[in-house]
Assembly symmetry: C2
Homo-oligomer: 381 residues x 2
Amino acid sequence: MMNTPICEMFGIEFPLLAFTHCRDVVVAVSKAGGMGVFGAAGLTPSQLEEELAWIDAHVDGKPYGVDLIVPNKVEGKGETISPEDMLGRLPEQHKTFAHNLLAAYDVDESGLDELRVRQLTFSDNLRGAGTNAMLDVAFRHPIRLIANALGVPPRAMLEQGRAHGVAVAALVGAKEHALAQVAAGVDLLIVAGGEAGGHCGDVATMVLVPEVCRALEAAGVNTPVLAAGGIATGAQMAAAMAMGAAGAWCGSVWLTTSEAETNPVVKEKMLAASSRDTVRSRSRTGKPSRQLRSPWTDAWEAESAPKPLPMPLQSFISEPALRKVDKLSQSDHTGAKALATYWVGQAVGLMNQSMSAGQVVQDFKEDFLRAHERLNRALGA
Amino acid sequence: MMNTPICEMFGIEFPLLAFTHCRDVVVAVSKAGGMGVFGAAGLTPSQLEEELAWIDAHVDGKPYGVDLIVPNKVEGKGETISPEDMLGRLPEQHKTFAHNLLAAYDVDESGLDELRVRQLTFSDNLRGAGTNAMLDVAFRHPIRLIANALGVPPRAMLEQGRAHGVAVAALVGAKEHALAQVAAGVDLLIVAGGEAGGHCGDVATMVLVPEVCRALEAAGVNTPVLAAGGIATGAQMAAAMAMGAAGAWCGSVWLTTSEAETNPVVKEKMLAASSRDTVRSRSRTGKPSRQLRSPWTDAWEAESAPKPLPMPLQSFISEPALRKVDKLSQSDHTGAKALATYWVGQAVGLMNQSMSAGQVVQDFKEDFLRAHERLNRALGA
């Protein structure tokens, strides 16, 4: 058992938190001595209920958490918007661009409308319309952590967290945001560098972690910091902790585990990718997020491409198309295999071998010790 | 004395290398137990001779190095180009854009032509025309390291390095480049993340360092790696070494030291800046380089701005203008103070206090030990 504020806060052996949309990974990491955090954005409350019930039945009482995305700024926040109205806000230019791109890769559009309607759930969650129902479900389960991925957590999350004795965490990509989050009352900061997969800022982990730690110290605050962004090995985790982090928060590294529900085509691409095969782009959600490069992301980065729509509108363009692509790619469709992509950080360059999530945790522990030994040797200690 | 291949290679106590254009910093760092590396790009051979003679007279026999920029790809490489021809290659569009930008900030253009002509020295060095003369000067002095900043070192550098027993180093921003450099025969890799000041790639230090170390190990190569990019503290240096680096190479952190010849206006901006106040842009040299943001860099990032010219042409647009701006800014010219900028990495967010270069080295050592102690505590060791 390591001795850090994170181990103490959650009663875990090893301060490695696993962000994942896969319940099996949550369970495997928590059982291996870390802590799984289930990414619930995109689910309905009843789907979330089902997933958390499964986790409860399998996690042997080990701690786990839930992560939501409730951004502070989003198109139509707080408004009641009908499905027709939301879909009606999509410009023809963007629909046509996506259509032409799919057509160029022989992907037809059958079923896309239905997928667009399903995308409304994610949009409702983003706009806060579904937040309270999601929180109600989450807090009915023995979660130990609830995290918000974009901006200051909504007041209901902070209040229910306090009422239930559940730690509330927030992701930040800048020093100023870290201080704002602490002022808002979060218990734990996830400090994510621009090399992270998914939504991210543009300051690198190597700079952001010590910069935030120094700012917290100057403010007389001892909120623990989890380092995120680019971390896929125990040596990197040790590096982050040498700079003042109390542990690590990893997302990408679980995508190539044997448990992960990642599209197998994308999983293979990830295992083969180098750190240069990602791009930080607004083309998937409307906010900058880091993804595996593919002809899909390249096309949206071209100067001739339409500018991405504000969140959540861009997702109505990208998600239905990319789900169709995912599905087709698995039936050996050449065009779909080329286009297939998913969020992943630059750490993809370090993910070269598929293994179980439990084995990843074990490897982290051993690699952490080797990193410590390297410093001992350098210091002749 | 630390125990790393870098300490052994140079007989230094602490494996911290200081890239700087300021000879006082070279001397101060080498005397404090690290090693100064003098950045000579932009100088004439006779200027270099003068600077190195000064260093020899002041460095008390401590080791130091020299850094050149000889890119593999550059406009007019190998060609003999007259000053008129080189200046004639500058498009009106770019000259007009720079002119209008300066005018908007009340900066007149007197003296710019003369500065453009002086810029030819840098251009000659870049294009390799002046490389041999520079190498001849460098190798007449007791240098211990010669580094090339962009691409594989020219053959003459590798051969003379071998003949004189001087280590040859190269900066790399990608795993593939690291392997190519090792194949070309460099003795030392400076692995620089995208958070670095000056020319840089876009993979973050946190990922690139372990990725390169893993690739070298897989190739059965034990070329030492210096980590660069974002590092301005001993804890970050310890982090990099926990991930496999044999030491650190820092540039930005010396810019705010008391010895540095940095424009005092820019120095004040750097001390006040956060990590988000830099931009990676092609607008200064034609290749992506990270700089302090100012209205100058913002204007070049605007969509309406002309696309930067290939190296070395863009420097004929930017350098003379920014030297004029530097000079004017120091006479309290409001517009020039606003425009003033210089290369710096995201580590600028950690540079909050001016001190001597020797004190920076001392702080690094103490902070390194604190970082090691953090890991000891986490492990209960």
